[in-house]
Chain length 523, copies 2
Amino acid sequence: MTIIASSIIAGEHRTGTAGQVQGINPVTGKALEPVFTFVDKDTVDQAAEAAWSAFDVYRATTPEVRAVFLETIARNLELDGERIVDRAVQESGLPLGRLTGELGRTASQLRLFAGELRIGAHQEVRINSAQPDRAPAPAPDLRQRQIPLGPVVVFGASNFPLAFSTAGGDTASALAAGCPVVVKAHNAHPGTAALVGQAVNAAVKEAGLPAGVFSQIFGAGSAVGQQLVSHPRIKAVGFTGSQGGGLALMRTAASRPEPIPVYAEMSSINPVVIFPSSLNGKAKDLASAFVGSLTMGSGQFCTNPGMIFVPADDQGFAAAAGEALRELSGQTMLTSGICDSYREGVSRLANIEGVSAVSQGQEVSGQNAPAPVLFQTNSEILRNTPELQEEIFGSAALLVRYKDESDLVSTLESLHGQLTATVHATDADSESVKKVLPVLERKVGRILFNGWPTGVEVNDSMVHGGPFPATSDSRTTSVGSLAIYRFQRPVSYQNIPSNLLPEALQDENPWSLPRRIDGVLNS
Amino acid sequence: MTIIASSIIAGEHRTGTAGQVQGINPVTGKALEPVFTFVDKDTVDQAAEAAWSAFDVYRATTPEVRAVFLETIARNLELDGERIVDRAVQESGLPLGRLTGELGRTASQLRLFAGELRIGAHQEVRINSAQPDRAPAPAPDLRQRQIPLGPVVVFGASNFPLAFSTAGGDTASALAAGCPVVVKAHNAHPGTAALVGQAVNAAVKEAGLPAGVFSQIFGAGSAVGQQLVSHPRIKAVGFTGSQGGGLALMRTAASRPEPIPVYAEMSSINPVVIFPSSLNGKAKDLASAFVGSLTMGSGQFCTNPGMIFVPADDQGFAAAAGEALRELSGQTMLTSGICDSYREGVSRLANIEGVSAVSQGQEVSGQNAPAPVLFQTNSEILRNTPELQEEIFGSAALLVRYKDESDLVSTLESLHGQLTATVHATDADSESVKKVLPVLERKVGRILFNGWPTGVEVNDSMVHGGPFPATSDSRTTSVGSLAIYRFQRPVSYQNIPSNLLPEALQDENPWSLPRRIDGVLNS
């Protein structure tokens, strides 16, 4: 396909007069063709209304129809993969290999949800049989399943133009749940969004679904977003981005006449704890791996390790990390705005009392490629300086020296909610680790051992989530098959005649769903 | 046990100087001994801090320990059952038989969660095995389970002094999930709350759990509630009560530095749809059953049928319902305040244009026992008059005449979110019912056929919940085993050494939990 420079409103390509945007190559600063126009308010409303109109038909489809639909999106993305990846490279400055991998990940994410639909555990089918002879009153036949919430607005993220954008995890899980999706396209990669949107739209047609199942809107950032989140036809929100943006959406959603859930993945500094035993003879290797994780993709990962705890008397690790970093050149960031924010964050951190620089790399001038940087402080200063917990999006980290186990525990207790925490230790530190783990469990969605948080598997066991302010809702994940649970709610059916029962609840179990019948699980 | 007139703060009986309250017998208007004092702010803080201190120890207990703990509470309630029920009768004006049944239900609800703990499906264990040879990168060992959110505040409800109060469904499900509980005792039944609190407290001691696992506070309604919901140690809220109260808690929880989930079950008018076929020769029986459900317990049920749709040309049902109602005397309501609100609601409804009275029963003077009442209007007026959807807590209902299937569907579309909807029909109306069911699914948490919504089973399949404003969060239920999901969140563990893995995730599966391993469910 070639790029069609327009919003897609329920299958129709639409342009508007509310402004315009072009992709910009952050390496060269040059604008990319074509120009995308912003649609006006009425057109945005039409997308929400079309999603609502499509809802009852779409949610009545079988799991197999929805699974094939998701697989068709995946196939369409792969068929047009070369063009999509090429465009994403130009718009994001991310390397070809990374984006090729991300396309594969996006497709396999869609297929994971297709598989989830065929397993069907998320439908949570429960049946309690009637007991006509129960005393003092007969028990009714009661059956429960999950139904989708309704149309979902998805905000694409800049840092994953494929896996967390138009056809990313939020869209895949909402569509799997049976919710129509209205995407607010990210203006940092409009061409990529358009190509992916066309692939989704083609799959809607091929599956014979109502066109309102998918729309994608180009518009000025916050105004269109607020309009969509306020719209009475919208019933949930998926968002990955800044804390400011996420908090604004949370406020809007909570103050609607009918409040709706917001799943915002916002910010995290992803603490890494280095125990003494892991440094024995390996300080240099560990430091090198840390710097690799910190600077990969210019540090533009939600799970970037932005804070690393080392024993107070460490010399080897900090020195080796500083040395490794000094040799590195900056990599182009996604946009000049993100690059500016990074510089501001670094300069703010550098000016906080008690913080000193360990080392920094080389800036590449004129390419939005700022120097990666490592600062240091100690645990007491961290505990007393909440600003040190503000995420700097990019390759900046703060090394924190801790005195002993008790100092470490109380410092970890002072951290805000995070997506991940990582422990580096050997058996020699097991007793200390046992004291740290319960604290980390309360703080994060994922705990890693002797690794680095920047790889996020897409499978049944992943939690990409965590306590506020990492996300708006710790009870969920935005990556992995559990994400489908965000977009559904339970309904129970009491004494419904068998010819009127939804397929999911019929005795014959036509969809072969796992069920809990009279307290007994079968699968 | 005898009533100890005090708050329980982490096992200690405490009185205060912030005010006082006594139970009042609504039949006689007489105050009941003893006097309960309100504790001051510091004492409230102590309860939250004690809950927090107990959290890590409590959540580390095995499912069996928590199951036995819940069973011990149930047993303690039954051992002191006669005294508890007797006191509840005096404080609520509800009949002995009803409260005896409610005590049994409260105990069996605790045992349901004990059973849920032993099944363990709510722990959602998922394991994805490491794939060291996967290309392009090895896959880690990743394991997921659910952990409890933290201390929970529970607000007891006036209309179920046992099943939705101190040791009711919110408390049972939060304790089952591993969350310490701080109960704000309901001031309409302080003696009942005290006796039940003593039973819970004794179980905490017997189980050898940290005392902070349970506290119960007597205090002035909204101030103490707001203090608790604002407290940084509190991580979730369970509430059953008025819409005003629920909305206030939602606002407070959303505006905290760290927002927390609120599960508020607030208001519902529980529409009942009578299809023509169900009236054939049975109008009188149906009307009599309707009036029975409407007036049972003076109509003080969340699921009371407050709106009933009948064909426009119906004469038999309305006449028979009117006649049945006319013969009934009012029953004492829970408090004089609730009785006053009922009268105000009835008078407001009577003055709305297009609404007329069908019939009313007899008031019993001096006993807070107002007349049950039935009004009528038509579908068009209902669609254009949102005030008609305001719940009147008590035995008042609005009969709505609809023209035809299409008029019925568009009128049901105009309804707000509800706990339940009920359909009365025979096979002859199946085609119409098929058009109504998808609308009802979007509006409610439970759909019933040819029955009445006022019985709420406590089992795996019950959903006592529904879209806003019936509840604050449609994704959950406050009755039944699924309620445990409200108080937990997922955490995943990546490459954690086996000696440090939580029991729930160990290969050996010491708790015999159902698991999903590499995409395959076993149970």
